[in-house]
């Protein structure tokens, strides 16, 4: 039986930063020389994940990890290459998942779920568990803009962790929040991981957590695959590389 849950082939993602884009003044006077400067954020990355596997992605800041997760989540299309989800549903867990800052946490739970393909009724049903998990008390009925960054991430984690998608992408979420929530989210992650039908791809700089949770590690350096394989070996190589 084919237990591949996702296949990524020759993934390339380029982008042009906003500061290089023209203002009206530049349009009429001078076009910046680096107007067409393109940054290759991800270059020819290929990998596969198996159903039930936890793949960790590590790399220094700006190496293309989060960009790649966004492409995997379908937020934008890759410039080259292919992402085959094999019909699986996918969600990205990151700080402030699809929040409308002026609306309450409760309404945002429903909005976030609807954007991920759930119905309003399904989300109302799931809301109770999400609110209970998020532990933000009366703030759930306050506008999200009044939340602290910790509360933001708690709610974001609670939403994604309680939505049943086949593939979960986790971007640095474990690295924020108070100690109690970190422990709780770790426990929740472990529960999610024990579901043999769910694939988890997580990005984190917390090497201890990655070593504890991940089955394999993909190390990205300057947008390219540096190493992929055994968790401890890749982490050791990465730490050695960073300490050079």
């Amino acid at each position: 039986m084919d237990d591949i849950s996702m296949k990524v082939e020759n993934l390339c993602i380029d982008y042009r930063p906003l500061k290089n884009l023209p203002s009206i003044k530049k349009v009429f006077h001078e076009l910046p020389k680096d107007k067409n400067k393109v940054i290759h954020a991800v270059k020819n990355v290929s990998f596969e994940t198996k159903r039930g596997e936890i793949l960790g992605i590590i790399g220094k800041n700006g190496s293309g990890k989060s960009t790649m997760l966004k492409a995997l989540a379908g937020i934008f299309r890759p410039d080259e290459g292919n992402i085959d989800l094999r019909g699986n549903s996918i969600s990205l867990m990151s700080i402030g998942v699809g929040f409308n800052e002026d609306s309450t946490g409760r309404k945002n739970i429903i909005l976030s779920g609807m954007l991920l393909g759930f119905t309003e009724e399904e989300m109302i049903e799931k809301s109770k568990d999400i609110i209970e998990f998020a532990e933000i008390g009366d703030f759930i009925d306050m506008p999200v803009r009044t939340y602290s960054s910790g509360m933001h991430s708690k709610l974001a984690f609670a939403i994604t962790a309680n939505l049943d998608t086949d593939i979960m992408l986790v971007d640095e979420v474990l690295a924020v929040g108070d100690e109690r929530f970190r422990q709780k989210s770790l426990e929740k992650m472990k529960t999610l991981i024990t579901d043999k039908n769910r694939t988890v791809i997580m990005v984190s700089h917390e090497m201890n957590t990655m070593a504890e949770l991940c089955d394999r590690i993909l190390w990205i350096n300057d947008g390219e695959v540096k190493e992929i394989g055994d968790t401890q070996k890749v982490i050791d190589d990465y730490i050695a590389f960073m300490n050079l």
């Binding site: 009206i24 966004k70 989540a73 934008f76 299309r77 002026d102 609306s103 309450t104 954007l115 991920l116």
Partner: protein, 263 residues
Amino acid sequence: MKTLRCLINDIKKYRKYIIYSARVALQAEVTNAYLDWFWWILEPVCSMLIYFIIFGYVFKNTEQYYLVFIYSALTMWFFFSRTINASVKLIKASKGIITKVYIPKTVILLSNMLIFLFKMFISSIVVVVLMMPYRVSIDYHLLGLIPVLGVFFIFCYGIGCYLMHIGVFIEDMSYVIDILLQMLFYFTGIFYSVGKSFPAPLGQIFETVNPLAFFIAQMRNALMYKTDISLKGLAVWFGISVVLAINGSCIVYKNENTYVKVI
């Protein structure tokens, strides 16, 4: 055709989100404001009173049903200007959502337009109230409002798509829009009749060429003057609006991949 199919599919797929998101935004707006939804009426009413005092009283405008004349035009104008102002900043304002989850950008525009449409309908209640003391009678011509407002909505959506796209790439576009809107406001005949105020045939030409002046004039024909709307003119603007809407959507669909990367 592919764009139209794509747009229709997205509207079908995200229709519940569009409605819920608009509802949530409206609720958030009223919760955060001291006078709640009353502002949606108060804003055009205050503008109407200012124009009524200046142009009706000081400049002695003799237009029939002058309060209704100004207020009904203002409700349409507010819808248009809100759509335009929001569109140009929409992608950057939605950064929190579009960088975390995929959502067609046309859906975000439609959801915003639904908010403004709702506000327009709420403020339209005042039109009915204002018509009573003037004893403005209505007849079957009122049905003409439906196609006029329909084409007006498609037109605003089309322009909104273009501005949403341009707003991502040109930082200071919102300043240009402010100036253009101000110009357009005075050329649209909110507080005067474009057709009557310019010498013939200029008045008629301005009223036909300026879409806002055209839509507002047709709305007044149906609502206040019990006259037929210009079906020929409306057909032309319908054609233009559909082309704008499809082409604008096409540009947004083609470039939405880039939006997320550059903001």
